[in-house]
Symmetry: C2
Subunit: 346 residues, 2 copies
């Protein structure tokens, strides 16, 4: 591989001049700059990244720390990151934590969780990245984790209450509000909601959105329409069975995640109710599967790719000393209309 020294010799100038010409710093006459660029082109010279990093102590690399790459949200987020980072001339170093395992239908941190994180921050990423993007698998406060990072960090699909981190997460409340409003505008008044565990943050926010819409539209709340599940298809099925055996069963079910909605679909079929004619169903998450069930599930889609590229954009802006608009942002979901929602029967 050619070095700057060879280019300098060929051009009959010093390495300093070559460096200045290439970086548009210092002052170089137009004619020698052109001569240098021509030779660079000819030889196919590429500055040695390692040497540049050593000298400037910037790596133009950002570390992507993913809690679990195989959870369906992660790849698309990471893709969004890659897309932005690439065009900005940054490399991505990927680290998959893999420290959660499924317990029932929620995730629990493994015991070596913190060791893993520490090792990561100490040994793995030190002086290898300029900044870190932390990609969570569900919305919660990860301050405890990211505050130990010694580089600028942005959280994605989760948030941090610590001062050193930006956060890019889903606006669950507004999305749930809009979905509920949508059902109401379609004439539904008996709208049940299936929540996740009460201590789940996304569940709480989504429920808040639902309740706000119900309240704003002066709909009387039937306590039977409010059911707490555990995110699993089975719990959705059980809960919906109960719902459909009510003498005044709901005409619409808003499941706060897709899996429970699948259970609702199944229960409806068994109860002899057809979706969407007799009962409308809306899910949340836009799991890949929701396109393939019958009927295809209408659901709320988090803008995963935008979450990733938005976070990457802010982090890189920060790294380069440019103004960064805000300390984070809540991203709106998109309602994906498929075949499980219709007007309420008169």
């Amino acid at each position: 591989m050619a070095t700057i020294k060879e280019i300098a010799e060929l051009a009959g100038v010093s390495t300093t001049t070559v460096s200045y010409a290439l970086n548009r710093s210092g002052s170089v006459s137009e004619s020698t700059r052109r001569k240098i660029l021509r030779i660079v082109e000819e030889i196919g010279y590429q500055p040695n990244k390692t040497a540049v990093s050593l000298r400037t102590s910037k790596t133009r690399t950002i570390g992507v720390v993913a809690e679990d790459l195989t959870v369906f949200v992660t790849p698309e987020i990471v893709d969004g990151i890659c897309e932005y980072a690439e065009q900005a001339g940054y490399h991505i170093i990927l680290d998959n934590l893999r420290v959660f395992h499924k317990v029932g239908n929620s995730f629990q941190a493994l015991s070596h969780y913190h060791d893993e994180i520490r090792q990561l921050t100490d040994a793995t990423l030190h002086d290898t990245v300029d900044g870190i993007l932390y990609v969570g698998i569900h919305c919660r406060d990860v301050a405890e984790i990211v505050s130990s990072f010694e580089r600028p960090v942005a959280c994605i699909y989760c948030y941090s209450s610590s001062a050193n981190a930006y956060s890019f997460f889903v606006d669950d409340e507004t999305a749930a509000f809009q979905a509920t409003e949508h059902l109401i505008r379609l004439g539904h008044r008996r709208i049940a909601v299936l929540t996740g565990p009460v201590d789940s943050l996304p569940s709480q926010s989504r429920l808040r959105g639902y309740q706000k819409a119900i309240l704003q539209n002066d709909i009387v709340i039937n306590p039977h329409y409010f059911q707490v599940g555990d995110w699993s298809q089975e719990s959705g099925y059980e809960l919906a069975k109960r719902l459909f055996s009510l003498r005044s069963h709901p005409t619409a079910v808003f499941s706060l995640n897709d899996y429970m909605a699948f259970g609702v679909l199944q229960a409806a079929k068994e109860a002899g109710l057809s979706v969407p004619e007799d009962v409308s169903v809306i899910g949340f998450d836009n799991q890949p599967v929701s396109r393939y069930c019958t009927p295809a599930l209408s659901t709320l889609a988090p803008p995963l790719r935008e979450l990733g590229s938005g976070a990457a954009a802010s982090l890189i802006a920060l790294l380069e000393g440019r103004a960064v608009p805000r300390k984070g942002k809540a991203f709106a979901c998109q309602y994906v209309e498929r075949q499980s929602v219709a007007k309420a029967r008169r």
Copy 2:
């Protein structure tokens, strides 16, 4: 951040000695080595990776070039890579090509495909990685692409006929053979097969496996049982409809991918045939969705994680000058028993 110089001063020795002590090269007395290690521990010194790279021209980083991160096979492969690389002390630089788009149900390269690749090899990965792992989205020869890489490369979920690359791919033929044998052992004789497009390599291999099993078991081939689809659910549906309207319809359908199998399930239901009682269905790929359809689809699962970690292991062995067993390997699939297969009716 502390440097080797500070450690040297604190220990009252030269930087050379510190370096030797840390790398177990040169000869250092046991007592000074211990003294040095104690100080290193105390200060929390970490060698500067960039400086080491510059000096040794090894980056301990491997580039993962993924054709499409959002295709379902990729994340698990990449996870396997990460897992191995991490414990071997290597970093992963991720690059997502994103150069394919869906045309109907197969993928086609975008027009800027080769520009993208060239830019990648020239600018992006040069002197940044020691070797490259190329992760394909379907099995085919990628020699044209990877032969331009100027580093050792291993192909995953695809293969390269060029000399410079290792290949780690799925043994489609054996898997299809075993699935067909499985059906035969369950008493099935009228076994239909749904292939993908004739020019598709995986389709060809899988079909070969099917035919071998049929032939070996002296089953007479009914040409009507052989149908060519385009991998889509719709084509599976249409083909299966034709199959089930035959006066002597098959008792088992082997779909060479999962999506077409979903179509088969749908067609069976509409034809009044219950799966698996009246007809058994086996898919291929183990798409995440296959677990959620009804009945849950029995299918063949490529060992994605193993593919990734196996390739990473070989590449790293090669980079470190250790003996590498072979130039590549075909990995066996695992048959995933779910609810779509049963004994043939008497």
